[in-house]
């Protein structure tokens, strides 16, 4: 069965500092991986996705993630965060070979302060 573990429930950082949000996965099918962001009182929106090809994936708002098959990880990074990056971040993996439903991790709350 597929599963996702987000290793940190909360990550506090100062503005302009780098950040890494960690995600490990388990999957018995070929991997599709996603990071979604949720701003307060809103739905989720896609940050980036890995489907195949280059293991370094660039997304919106300056975020990037690296797929590491040997370590079964898909960590999200940003070199310099802004106050506006404060949000909940979710890592997700597809549920089965048909590949459309996703299983989500429990989320990481990123809090950026000045």
């Amino acid at each position: 069965a597929q599963s996702v573990t987000q290793l940190d429930s909360q990550v506090p950082v100062f503005e302009e500092a780098p950040v890494e949000l960690r995600c490990n996965y388990s999957s018995s099918v070929s991997v599709y991986l996603f990071w979604y962001v949720q701003y307060p009182n809103q739905g989720l929106q896609l940050l980036l996705k890995y489907l195949s090809g280059s293991t370094l994936v660039k997304g919106i708002n300056g975020f990037e993630a690296e797929f590491n098959k040997s370590q079964t990880s898909f960590h999200l990074r940003k070199p310099s965060v802004h106050i506006s990056d404060t949000a909940e971040y979710f890592c997700a993996v597809r549920i089965n070979q048909a590949g459309t439903a996703l299983i989500f991790g429990k989320g990481t709350t990123l809090s950026v302060s000045s």
């Binding site: 987000q6 599709y32 739905g43 989720l44 896609l46 549920i95 459309t100 996703l102 989500f104």
Partner: protein, 116 residues
């Protein structure tokens, strides 16, 4: 602008009552999903649908019923609401199909349900 809309956005009900949350999308996406979001659990898949009249269970289907008579609508019904079903419910849709890039999920803004 096309989109995915949920209604109602906020609902308060009592234990034992039937509640239906509506979801409507204008993209003609094949796939639709219902998730619930709870503190400490993230998002958990309740049910999903690959097309009209095709539905399948997710991680936490107990206590919920879905139907999909039309491609654009995917209502979620709680036949006898319980306090443990107090949650924020998100509907999502996806184009689906053979191309991986069509696997992205698009989410509605959520329906906050409180069961007293």
């Amino acid at each position: 602008d096309a989109g995915i809309t949920q209604s109602p956005r906020y609902k308060i009900t009592e234990t034992g009552r039937q509640v239906t949350l509506m979801c409507h999308q204008t993209w003609s996406h094949s796939y639709m999903f219902w998730y619930r979001q709870d503190l400490g659990h993230g998002l958990r898949l309740i049910y999903y649908s690959a097309a009209a009249d095709i539905t399948d269970k997710g991680e936490v289907p107990d206590g919920y019923v879905v139907s999909r008579s039309k491609t654009e609508n995917f209502p979620l019904t709680l036949e006898s609401a319980t306090r443990s079903q107090t949650s924020v419910y998100f509907c999502a849709s996806s184009r689906g199909g053979s191309y991986p890039k069509h696997r992205e999920l698009f989410f509605g803004e959520g329906s906050r349900l409180t069961v007293l």
